[in-house]
């Protein structure tokens, strides 16, 4: 199974009610699970050749999980608050406003619409405007302006309204 096929499965999952799928094929087991925010796990390269002996050990199976191999599990994960969070889709720097002297995109207590920009994450001079996936109230801003954030780290807590 190659990455293209895995991507196809992920795309299939995206448009469906199925939240989790496990496939075993030619000695490679793949487990794909939608994130709580509806996010889908990032596709990760599965090693092309896996020794059958290693396959017998569950810990060594190339399983795609929320924290893919090579990406350290974010420290913030353990302290993840209950409820809906907006998580960072990449490692980078968190900006609460479009410019250092501009008003923040959102602050605690604000109601955000679906698709509204809540912050910018920058990495390598690439700017990613993060949008809320749901309509809701910003109950907590989890990070400071200019702070480094990890992949998957919670940025905001949003309470659906």
């Amino acid at each position: 199974m190659n990455t293209k096929e895995i991507k196809e499965i992920i795309d299939l999952l995206k448009g469906s009610d199925v939240s989790e799928i496990e496939i075993e094929h030619d000695g490679v087991k793949i487990h794909i699970k939608k994130g709580s925010s509806g996010a889908i796990i990032t596709p990760v390269m599965v090693p092309q050749a896996v020794a059958p002996a290693a396959m017998a050990q569950p810990g060594h199976s190339p399983i795609i999980t929320q924290a893919p191999a090579g990406v350290p599990a974010p420290a913030a994960e353990a302290a993840k608050p209950a409820g809906n969070t907006i998580n960072s889709p990449m490692v980078g720097t968190f900006y609460k406003a479009p410019a250092p002297d501009a008003a923040p995109f959102v602050k605690e207590g604000d109601i955000v619409k679906e698709g509204q920009t809540v912050c910018v994450i920058e990495a390598m001079k690439l700017m990613n405007e993060i949008k809320s996936e749901i309509k809701g109230k910003v109950t907590k801003v989890m990070v400071e302006n200019g702070q480094a954030v990890d992949f998957g780290q919670a940025l905001f807590v949003i309470e659906p309204v």
């Binding site: 994130g35 990032t42 990449m90 990495a123 200019g146």
Partner: protein, 328 residues
Amino acid sequence: MNKRKVPGTAEKILIFLRAEKSGYVSGEALSRKLLVTRTAVWKHVHALVKQGYSIGSSTRLGYRLTGSPDRLLAAEIREGLLTKYLGKELYCYDEIGSTNETAMKLAGTNTEEGAVVIAEKQNSGKGRLNRKWLSPAGAGLWFSVILRPRIAPRQATDLTFVAGLALVQALHNFTGLEAGLKWPNDIFLDGKKVCGILTEINAGPDLVRHMALGIGINVNMSKAAFPAEIKDSATSLSLAAGREISRLGLLKEVLGQLEEKYELYKRDGFSSFIAEWKKRSVTLNKRVRIKGLAEEYEGFAVDINKDGGLVVRLDSGELKKVYSGDVT
């Protein structure tokens, strides 16, 4: 403003005139080929002359092209462009706020991958953190390329390095200048910045929808064109090369290199680009100062990791991974 997806009548007239460099093309022949009246042909020719083309006309023989302007017009960019899709869809402006802003808006519509937004002049050219990017008329290349890669947001940063390396290669091929890369993708000549790349993406949690690679190249700017606050840190290709550089020619080379490297990235992945970047780096193995919004520190730039993050050894010995900030 001239904004065109496919060659219009005026551009088709140019194509016919170019094919007939030796002689004249009659108004009648043009009207037949283009299925418009001879008056319409005359009007289009008149408009081309206003854009800067030199077109001779003779009542008996017709029209003849004798000169083209070094202007960023769709017809000029497409002429001799050897790409498959990059720059085939063109949005050319005399003046614009920011090409990236317009590109991000256009990318939300049904524009094709590889569409290019370009302007002679940007009135609010952008850098990081809404800093200004100087973009005077006629002296540089200020453009944005719309891409739709099927990758996760955290992989999108790979393309900022791919673009930087494509630019370095294009400069080498077209001008012979050997530029260096300051982390992550500033292009440097003689210790001064000559091009910058600012990338914006629109992405869901898992997948990039579209991105705009915003590229600014100081091509034919004189020393006096740079204001006091950047005159010691910025330069242009003409200053470095000691001669004028054709903007149109360079643009086509850049678009060609971008398409080639982007295809290579999609086929073979990112690792070869990391190796190439290290060869071209002017940041590694030097003492660097990193200035972010929240913190500022110094250290020794030892490496870039597989994601392109800069690895800095602090004086305490601690290794710190840098993903953003001003590096000096």
